[in-house]
């Protein structure tokens, strides 16, 4: 009899503990399902968390959790601070998130991308001990304390967020992200529209071209375009665009002073480039003015003054550029004359 009691006890214990396991698994799968619905509600697949959901998905669940969370810390009031580049980072983060979801066909339940906003979730920021932005934390399945057990992404990774984020995810979670799907510049609909427009427009254009009455037949337009391309190239505009150079710098010692010229080869500031580009261009432009406009001037005196003026300006421009170049590069260019000539 006693044996049967014991057996019953054991049986009931097993069933109860199984029920406990099932209920725990049920709670976990519920959480995952919640996360999946939240993810599908968001356009980019980034789940927006707040203090309540942080406690629901992270702090009040038992470890190990069946998922990791990658959290981006955002603060909308700081979006207009250009040196933090928060909007760009938000966009990159969303791009990685949507690519990750698309590469796993939405069936991934191991990793979720989330963001937290400072004004709504100040206590969560405190939980993570986040004092500075931008910041990205990975909350692994076993993380108990949000301060100590979480992985923080290094600050150096934020300069090229998409690549370093992919590396970060792959090294810490052993999940593959797959290729990043950059959104095309032109969507398919626009493409169809453009092609249709081109088809309709092409016969008209062809007729005009055959008749020779478009603006492309006017050499002046080509000339001004050519001068523009020249100016654009030699002023280092590409340098400014690619490197995102500022137009000028503030002097650190004297905030009222502005620095327009940067000493050192291979680097330039915006206005500096445009000024020198203008100096480069002006000699040729003056020549055009002298031979094209000045000859029609009737008054001899004006003509002479114009001539002299353009000669001096050209001379000054050449001189100025050479001076600036020597100053910038610190090269002392000299001829190789016999030494007794000096």
């Amino acid at each position: 009899m006693a044996i049967s009691y014991i057996l019953l006890f054991i049986l009931s214990f097993i069933s109860i503990s199984r029920f406990l396991v099932i209920s725990k698994a049920g709670a976990e799968s519920e959480l995952v399902a919640d996360l999946l619905t939240l993810q599908s509600q968001s356009e980019s697949g980034v789940i927006h968390l707040n203090d309540r959901t942080v406690s629901k998905f992270i702090t009040s669940t038992k470890t190990p959790r069946p998922y990791s969370l990658l959290i981006f810390f955002d603060a909308i009031p700081l979006h207009d601070k250009s040196d933090l580049r928060l909007p760009v980072l938000v966009h990159d983060f969303a791009l990685v998130a949507s690519s990750f979801i698309a590469n796993h066909n939405g069936s991934n339940t191991k990793l979720f991308f989330c963001d937290l906003e400072f004004r709504e979730s100040q206590s969560s920021f405190k939980l993570f001990d986040v004092n500075s932005l931008p910041n990205i934390y990975l909350v692994g399945p076993d993380a108990e304390s949000l301060k100590d057990d979480t992985d923080q992404m290094e600050q150096s990774g934020f300069t090229r967020l998409t690549e370093s984020l992919v590396e970060f995810i792959e090294s810490r979670t052993q999940l593959t992200v797959g290729p990043i799907h950059h959104s095309p510049i032109i969507s398919k609909k626009q493409m169809v529209l453009i092609i249709g427009f081109l088809l309709i427009w092409s016969p008209f254009a062809a007729r005009k071209i055959f008749a020779g009455e478009t603006m492309f037949h006017n050499p002046r337009i080509w000339l001004s375009g050519a001068i523009f391309v020249y100016f654009f190239s030699v002023s280092g505009a590409m340098h400014i665009i690619i490197r995102k150079m500022p137009m000028f710098l503030m002097d650190r010692e004297d905030p009222n002073k502005l620095i327009f010229f940067y000493q050192g080869t291979g680097v330039q500031l915006g206005l500096e480039g445009f000024m020198v580009g203008f100096l480069y261009t002006i000699v040729g432009l003056l020549l055009a003015v002298v031979t094209h406009v000045l000859v029609y001037v009737k008054d001899l005196k004006t003509k002479r003054i114009g001539m002299l003026f353009s000669v001096f300006v050209s001379f000054w421009a050449v001189k100025q550029v050479i001076f600036l170049d020597n100053w910038k590069t610190r090269y002392a260019i000299h001829g190789f004359w016999p030494s007794r000539w000096n």
Partner: protein
């Protein structure tokens, strides 16, 4: 008496004005030809006849192979001395034009019984082709403007630093012959367009073939020429001459280019070549329309026909392109090409391209450094070209502007822009000087007006013939002429200085100024490579960072693990991992790669700053990119890279540190400084007691720049 006899003697040599002019022109050209050659010899005179930099050593080695084994062996060469144990298929992964050219020159010289070494041929190939480029520039200038402009263009390009940077003696690289091929192809094509003859078209196709065989930059030609044709079509300059020239050049050029194995079917499949094909079909449509217009007398009927045909053609082209792209038959643009069109692309998407220093965008000072006053003359030349529009001037303007744009995107493309800038500036110089001298030589009676500089002086003078001759006109013209010559002489000075000081260092032999201002030469690299050649078994494998791979195989004649052809990132990362691990971990990797010797470059004694310790963070980064066990922060202290006492412990004990600073702690490098003072970084090193367990020092060069270690065999097992 004697006077009259000499004049009698000279009578048969008395030349007419035309002959005199020809004589002067030819002698100027000869002088320019020699000038272009000798201005590139600074490095040979200052050091000696040797190959420069890194990549040229690979070219030199392949040329040597070509001359020793013949063309077919070269074509089928599988190189097992590099990328051990993977090897490299050489014949299919290079542009053979440069090597074949050098080998042909070598054969020719030997046929003429000049017993020169192939190295001398390789060293002098680039200056020789630079000289030839001046000739092409002369003929090109003559074709687009007049012979005066051609002469000036030849002079300008002979000394232009933008071109010299890649063509000094010893820089045996593809660009050396490619710029010649580029300009030659363009010249022949312009000539073909001007003449409309099949023969010139054929010649330009062969020029294009040579260019394709020499340099990957041929893509510029195959896109610029269609663009030019398209512009001519749009501006209503379509002609039979253009049709003949382009079709001949495109069809034959394509067939010839496909013979180069590295290009092959890319020429009809990749997106970069599609513009040429599209314009080819467009030409046929134009020709067809022209023919129909000729047959149909009714203009209204023709216009109806025109609209239908054009719609059909555009639709068919669009569908063909779409289907080709979708089916994968036409491959999309490569990243490098993309980064030229949308320059911000590379920065965001291709870090490898963005990190190379030659691919940086150009600042204004680099333009100034490489072009000097040509930059001022360029807009003036553009203006002259537009004043006298022809098919040829349109071509040079388009070439100049596109290449200028590309030069703004990438520093190294200044090279491609140089011939165009020289030609356009030459037009400005020539036209201006011509006008000024015409003014000077004209009789006072002829009425002129104040425009001393313009081309339109003749036209204007007829218009304003009532104007009295101006009193200071001749003096003004004289002053302006002097001004022009002053500027040009400044240009010559600048070019010579830049060539001598900036572009003529071989970087394999280092020069420094001694304490008394004398020149000190460090020849440690070659010392080390010859030591390898003489003292190691022929099948020894040498591990070093990839920068030195080409040089070790070419000069040391030993197998290397990685080299400058960075095609396998994992392999490079393995070497990076070995260098940044502890010695016993590194030993495992070294054993797995069968390495016998490890070579490091060290500048602590001489103060040479581009040594391996300064490149070490790249090894860590590249190694860590593939093997996450290597982490950059382990080697840094608070984000700072240090080698002194405060350095990170991992840094102080990694293989690279040990190999660089082995026995360095005992050495006095500078008076008044403690032993072990690193002159390249200006600190006393942190680990002076370095013991090596699995490697032993085999050789250290006289200035300690190269250090070679032998890998010990494994211990006996018991």
């Amino acid at each position: 008496m004697s006077n009259s006899s000499t004049s009698d003697l000279l009578k048969p040599f008395k030349l007419k004005t035309k002959q005199q002019e020809l004589l002067i022109r030819v002698s100027i050209l000869c002088l320019v030809y020699i000038l272009a050659f000798i201005t590139r010899l600074f490095s040979v005179l200052r050091y000696e006849s040797m190959i420069h930099e890194f990549d040229p050593y690979f070219n030199y080695r392949t040329t040597l192979y070509l001359t020793q084994h013949g063309f077919y062996d070269f074509w089928n060469w599988f190189d097992y001395e590099s990328w051990y144990p993977l090897g490299r298929i050489v014949g299919g992964t290079l542009y053979p034009g440069l090597m074949v050219t050098a080998a042909l020159i070598y054969r020719l010289l030997h046929f003429l019984r000049f017993a020169v070494h192939i190295r001398e041929v390789c060293v002098l190939t680039a200056p020789f082709f630079a000289s030839n480029t001046t000739l092409v520039a002369y003929f090109f200038g003559k074709e687009i403007w007049d012979s005066g402009a051609g002469l000036v263009a030849a002079i300008l390009i002979a000394v232009c630093p933008g071109y010299i940077s890649r063509s000094v003696a010893g820089s045996y690289d593809n660009e050396g012959v490619a710029i010649f091929a580029l300009l030659f192809t363009f010249y022949l094509f312009v000539k073909a367009v001007n003449k409309g003859s099949l023969a010139w078209g054929l010649a330009s196709a062969f020029g294009y073939f040579y260019m394709v065989s020499a340099w990957g930059g041929y893509v510029f030609i195959i896109n610029l020429i269609p663009l030019y044709v398209l512009v001519l079509l749009i501006t209503g300059r379509y002609s039979m001459r253009l049709y003949v020239a382009y079709n001949c050049m495109y069809i034959l050029g394509m067939l010839l280019a496909m013979q180069i194995r590295f290009v092959g079917f890319q020429h009809v499949q990749s997106g970069e070549h599609m513009a040429a094909m599209g314009v080819f079909f467009l030409m046929q449509v134009f020709y067809f329309l022209d023919w129909v217009k000729h047959m149909l007398s009714d203009t209204k009927l023709f216009q109806e026909f025109l609209s239908i045909t054009v719609t059909c053609a555009v639709a068919a082209g669009g569908i063909a392109l779409g289907v080709g792209m979708a089916s994968g038959y036409i491959s999309p643009w490569t990243g490098r090409f993309y980064s030229l069109l949308d320059p911000t692309y590379a920065k965001d998407h291709i870090p490898i391209i963005a990190s190379v220093s030659e691919h940086q965008p150009t600042a204004w000072s680099s333009f100034m450094f490489d072009f000097h006053i040509l930059l001022f003359l360029f807009p003036a030349g553009l203006y002259f070209c537009f004043k006298r529009l022809s098919d040829a001037t349109i071509f040079i303007v388009m070439y100049g502007l596109t290449s200028m744009y590309f030069a703004g995107v990438m520093v190294r493309l200044i090279l491609v822009a140089t011939p165009a800038v020289c030609l356009i500036s030459a037009i400005a110089v020539s036209a201006t000087v011509k006008n000024l001298t015409v003014l000077l030589r004209s009789k006072n009676k002829v009425a002129q007006i104040g425009s001393t500089k313009g081309t339109s002086s003749a036209k204007a003078s007829s218009k304003a013939s009532l104007d009295q001759s101006q009193p200071f006109q001749k003096n003004g013209a004289m002053a302006l002429l002097f001004g022009a010559f002053y500027l040009l002489s400044r240009y010559a000075t600048h070019c010579t200085w830049v060539t001598s000081e900036a572009y003529s260092s071989p970087s394999i032999v280092l020069a420094a100024r001694g304490a008394h201002g004398n020149r000190v030469i460090f020849d440690d690299y070659r010392e080390a490579y010859f030591w390898l050649r003489q003292n190691t078994p022929p099948d020894a494998k040498v591990m070093s960072w990839w920068d030195y791979g080409y040089q070790i195989t070419a000069m040391g004649n030993r197998t290397v693990i990685v080299d400058n052809n960075t095609w396998n990132n994992t392999h490079i990362a393995t070497v990076g991992r070995a260098m940044s691990s502890y010695e016993d971990e590194a030993y495992e990797i070294i054993r797995s790669l069968d390495v016998d010797y490890v070579l490091v470059v060290f500048g602590g004694v001489t103060g040479y700053s581009s040594d391996d310790i300064n490149k070490f963070l790249w090894m860590v980064r590249i190694g860590g990119g593939v093997f996450p066990v290597i982490k950059e922060p382990d080697y840094l202290v608070n984000g700072e890279y240090r080698v002194d006492k405060g350095a990170a412990p991992k840094m102080l004990n990694c293989l690279m540190y040990k190999l660089s600073y082995y026995r360095f702690g005992e050495m006095m490098t500078e008076y008044g400084k403690p032993p072990g003072y690193d002159r390249a970084r200006g600190v006393e090193i942190g680990n002076k007691d370095i013991k090596l367990e699995h490697l032993e020092e085999a050789f250290t060069t006289s200035n300690w720049i190269v250090r070679i270690y032998k890998v010990k065999p494994p211990n006996n097992r018991w």
